[in-house]
Amino acid sequence: MMITNLEMVPGKQITKHLGLVQGSSVRAKHVGRDIMASLKNIFGGELKGYTELLQDSREEAVNRMIEQARAVGANAVLNVRFSTSSIAAGAAELFAYGTAVVMD
């Protein structure tokens, strides 16, 4: 499965369009990390726990998107975009979407 955020892949032809595929993941952080984060809010600096958390959940979203693409019989997802939204206090939604295609 090829994942790219270009609209085409050099040297390859798109033979079939299969439409939009998407994956999302909603995560909340645990209390321990929240406490660490409020300490960091005083001193400033990187919140490593959050960075990892968001990275993991973004991977999860991409994996779900890949699963969906596989289910419709695609072998590549083009023009992938990410979006983040905080839906409640302490929880964030990570969303990935793209166009599923068949390439030769």
């Binding site: 050099p10 809010n41 400033g44 960075t51």
Partner: protein
Amino acid sequence: MVDLIIFLILLASGYGFGRHAEKKHYRSIIAREKELNLIPAIATKLIPATGQLYDSNLVTGNVVISIDYFKRVIAGLRNLVGGRVSSYETLIDRARREAILRMKQQAKSEGAEMVFNIKLETSSIHKGRRNAVGSVEVLAYGTALIPK
């Protein structure tokens, strides 16, 4: 009185640690930017037709950075008079550059020559009291071109 003392302690430690952390971070960013200059990050979609064949792969880099207490207080004061909020400017600048560096680092470890179609996304993650922005997340992503 106790409240005032706590406030001053927070302010002082925010000023001290925050300044130190920011300087250190900028030094590390500048050093790594020099090192990763060999992999250009390009914001266009079109790949130059040089005849070279590439494998492509999505690369991402993200970082969550928090502002310190001192700067948050300064930004709150700035809200009263308006104007440039430079304490947030440096926070976001650091986050963007760090995210791009992490993305390039991933591209480098995969043997890429350049990264195309860079997109940047910013979101505020942690909202403090009265919806004050506490920390921002920046995600940078693009397509790494790996020569075949």
